[in-house]
């Protein structure tokens, strides 16, 4: 099967405009004859559901949380990029496009990324019109700041709660369509299978998380906006419930999974404090605008810091190593996330880490407070400082923060074409659940942009192109394909409940996380990955023999929910390892130790690996088949990333 990216012909800047003209339209009066399922209510899902309903389609919106407003987009702190050039500092659609392609280490599609940059300006207009209270200057106009990896100020923000405000905007638009009767909400429902008939997506099977009821939902198209799979690592900045199940089950029904090894490790998180740790908390990357990252120059001094014999503020300037500023004078503390993360790991591996576990570096605001005053810093980061203090007990106004990288985002995801449709006709993937825009590394403040771009401004146009060719009749849910999917789901649940082993679900999840973090995290080797593959396989075998899931299906059963998700993580983990193993190069978030420059930077191999790796599921324990989509670069020159 050949993967068709369906990137429109023509000059880069005209592709999207031409495409919008060329796609088939559904007559306004006929839109009400089509039903669309949207799974997930984060930025990508809520914006899509609301916009599609406004157009006249009938939408069913699903989320596992108790309300659509809880989706994890809500936790995004820093901001959202848009090429508005309000600051007159040389920004443009092309520059945002260029930065995103370069930041992604030339592993994303030019056409998709340009479109993303192009519609970014509309997103801000849309959100302001909804009543999103972005930060403003005294003159009443919108404020911007610069953000990791960018040399212009194009990031719009709402204190450190940008994701919350954008999500509540999308949620309000969604709520308005619920009131209009165009959206039906299904909270506390989890998608457990995709239903395909003659190769086309025709609906989903869900579990009501309160009653356990297995339900079939039929539709003309299915949009997955179910987020990323960072919780494969157990500890991540994702929400506790964030999971890969919807995407993974779709994968097992034929949708290709692209670049699963591309995971983003965020450099500024609160370090792990002990075995009880259930998740990691991100400190917004915007902190790197004013905070300076450093560790003591020597191991001996670091040792004293760890033992509490010397306070960080008492360490002389000459004994501090501001290693990012030293190694990357042009970008300093604002180097992209992967570079910042890896360097934190290196200094800690050298024994210069600064907390009990030796796995932390300082992020210091002393100089910024001296320069701008405490009030200014409080205005910018007050809530983040409060949050840090609450979690750690330290006051960042008085002592440097301690930070360490943590898994934050997954660039890989379901393969989609330019229309955001997977290789399964009628099945779409938006936001973090697809792979399309960030290549091997995502720039800060670009996830919110992509989620909303996909939902507000891409899928409302492209879905019509498919639906226009579909009949109005909906497949009845007693169709054998629905019955078969229901049976698969029920059998799987029964199996989980019948094992009655001796180890909890969390035990297996934690073990998986340790393996993935150690061997498929910030730095990878062929040897480590090969070992990890065996370990994950062994763990999966043990899980299916020895997991303990109490209770029954017919009740609110959190162990059962988790077990079903962890079962999928165990399979996905193996594919991530395979993908990381096959990609014999370093690029963005994928760093193979065998492939680095003399300076220790990621060394790409454009000759052999300038492609998207899309994996096709065969059967359990049978290697997935690799399909390659070549990436063509006509508008940017591939260069070695350099932030020096």
């Amino acid at each position: 099967m050949k993967l068709e990216s369906k990137i429109p012909e023509g000059p880069l800047a005209e592709k999207w405009t031409n495409h919008k003209f060329n796609v088939k339209l559904v007559n306004p009066a006929n839109k009400r004859k089509y039903d669309i399922i949207v799974v997930g209510t984060g930025l990508a899902g809520a914006s899509a559901a609301a916009s599609l309903a406004e157009l006249g389609y009938n939408v069913k919106s699903f989320c596992f949380q108790d309300s659509p407003r809880r989706a994890h987009s809500i936790a995004a702190q820093g901001g959202i990029n848009a090429a508005k050039n309000y600051q007159n500092d040389g920004d443009s659609v092309f520059r945002l496009f260029y930065d995103t392609i370069k930041g992604g280490d030339y592993r994303s599609r030019e056409g998709n990324v340009y479109r993303l940059a192009e519609v970014s300006v509309n997103i801000i207009d849309q959100c302001v019109a909804q009543g999103v209270p972005f930060a403003r200057e005294y003159g009443g106009l919108l404020a911007n700041r610069s953000f990791g990896g960018a040399q212009v100020s194009r990031t719009f923000y709402a204190r450190g709660q940008t994701g919350q405000q954008l999500l509540l905007g999308a949620y309000s638009a969604l709520s308005r369509q619920v009131a209009n009767g165009k959206v039906k909400l299904y909270p506390r429902h989890e998608m457990l299978d995709l239903v395909t008939i003659d190769g086309k997506a025709k609906g989903i099977v869900t579990r009501n998380l309160i009653t356990g009821e297995i339900e079939s939902h039929s539709a003309h198209a299915v949009v997955l906006a179910s987020g990323g799979y960072g919780n494969v690592f157990y500890l991540s900045t994702n929400a506790m419930g964030s999971n890969a199940t919807a995407a993974w089950r779709a994968h097992k029904k034929g949708a290709f999974m692209a670049n699963p090894c591309y995971t983003q490790i965020h450099p500024t998180c609160i370090p792990v404090s002990g075995d009880h740790q259930s998740k990691l908390t991100l400190m917004s990357e915007s902190l790197r605008n004013d905070g300076r990252v450093w560790v003591p120059k020597t191991k001996e001094l670091a040792e004293k810091v760890r033992k509490g014999e010397i306070k960080p503020r008492d360490i002389d300037e000459a004994d501090r190593d501001y290693y990012l500023e030293r190694k990357y004078p042009a970008f300093g503390n604002l180097v992209p996330r992967d570079v910042a993360s890896r360097n934190a790991k290196y200094v800690c591996d050298e024994g210069r880490g600064v907390n009990d576990t030796g796995k932390a570096v300082f992020l210091d605001f002393r100089d910024a407070i001296k320069r701008d005053g405490r009030d200014t810093i409080e205005g910018k980061y007050g809530n983040l400082f409060d949050m840090y203090k609450q979690i750690t007990g330290d006051n960042p106004y008085e002592t440097p923060m301690k930070i360490y990288p943590a898994v934050h985002y997954t660039m890989g995801g379901l393969w989609v074409d330019y229309n955001l449709m997977t290789n399964v006709p009628g099945l779409y993937a938006t936001g973090e659940s697809n792979f399309s825009d960030h290549g091997a590394n995502r720039l800060g403040a670009s996830a919110l942009m992509q989620g909303l771009a996909d939902g507000y401004f891409v899928i409302p146009y492209t879905i019509g192109n498919y639906l226009a060719g579909e009949k109005y009749e909906k497949t009845p849910v007693d169709h054998e394909a629905f019955k078969a999917a229901e049976k698969t789901v029920k059998d799987n649940i029964d199996k989980l409940l019948s094992i009655k082993g001796s180890k909890s679900v969390d035990h297996f999840h934690k073990e998986l996380g340790k393996i993935m973090w150690e061997y498929c995290g910030m730095s990878r080797t062929a040897e480590g990955l090969t070992r990890a593959k065996g370990m994950v396989k062994e763990l999966r075998d043990e899980f299916w023999k020895n997991v303990k899931v109490l209770g029954s299906n017919e009740e609110f059963n959190s162990s059962l929910e988790k077990a079903s998700r962890v079962a999928d993580f165990l399979e996905l983990g193996e594919l991530m390892i395979d993908d990381a193993l096959h990609r014999e190069e370093s690029c963005g978030g994928h760093f193979r130790e065998e492939h680095q420059t003399e300076e220790g930077e990621a060394k790409r191999n454009d000759e052999d690996f300038a492609y998207v790796a899309a994996w096709e599921f065969k059967d359990l324990d049978i290697a997935e088949e690799l399909h390659k989509e070549e990436l063509n670069f006509e508008n940017v020159k591939l260069t070695q990333r350099s932030y020096k």
Partner: protein
């Protein structure tokens, strides 16, 4: 740390429910409150007992899903934090901690400590939005908004919809939640067009859901993890009254 936990256990909405007492050992002061419950649950699973069900998701104090009533206070003893951000260093060794679900007619218990807060969603659906479709909106900088107004609207907009205000109120009133949304939108020029109608509809839905009336005790604001100000209720009353009098002033 060693603790005694008195936890409300209720199988489902129709079950009567009762407190059950658990002893837990080896609690670290660095654990979050929910991580402490995680540890308890691992111990319960070990003993083949049903783990304690509770709502939680982001564990960074922003999704609004966690909702425990701890020692008589929503989200526990610390001001300005949600349960997930509460750490065990706020408690002392040997302490007995009582943990209940939110209690309000409009928030029926689903299981143990988890409640159904869909009433909040329905209140928002009644009018908590600006009626604009996607696309065709003016440039974001076309309407300047004074910074002070934008900041004040933002303060109201930080509500996370957790329901602590309702749980804290002796009348189980939702006025703080509803007024935060009404305030945010009525302060911004984009939301002013519909402000009267919005106030009227949202208040009507709030009443229909069975939330109580406000008697100005201020427990809601005092217990709000995001510090939503009581003056939002005054603004809501003004909008509501204005709309009932047929004028938006």
């Amino acid at each position: 740390m060693k603790l005694t936990l008195k936890i409300w256990r209720q199988k489902n909405t129709n079950d009567k429910g009762a407190f059950k007492t658990y002893d837990i050992d080896g609690v670290s002061p660095d654990m979050s409150f929910l991580e402490m419950i995680d540890v308890l649950n691992e111990q319960l699973i070990e003993k083949d007992e049903d783990p304690v069900h509770f709502d939680h998701d982001c564990r960074e104090g922003i999704c609004g899903m966690c909702s425990m009533y701890i020692n008589g206070e929503p989200h526990g003893p610390l001001k300005g934090v949600t349960t997930c951000q509460l750490h065990m260093r706020s408690f002392s060794d040997g302490e007995t901690i009582t943990i209940e679900p939110w209690r309000a007619k409009a928030f029926p218990v689903v299981k143990d400590l988890a409640v159904d807060r869909s009433a909040f969603d329905r209140v928002i659906q009644a009018g908590g939005y600006v009626s604009v479709n996607t696309g065709g909106t003016p440039d974001a900088n076309e309407i300047p908004i004074p910074k002070s107004v934008a900041d004040e609207a933002f303060d109201a907009a930080t509500c996370i919809g957790c329901g602590a205000c309702v749980a804290a109120c002796k009348n189980a009133s939702a006025m703080l939640f509803v007024s935060a949304k009404i305030s945010q939108l009525s302060m911004l020029p984009q939301g002013q067009v519909e402000k009267s109608e919005r106030a009227e509809k949202m208040v009507a839905q709030m009443d229909a859901e069975g939330f109580g009336a406000c008697t100005n005790t201020g427990a809601c604001s005092a217990e709000c993890p995001k510090g939503i100000d009581l003056k939002n209720i005054a603004r809501m009353n003004r909008e509501y009254l204005g709309s009932k009098m047929g004028s938006s002033n």
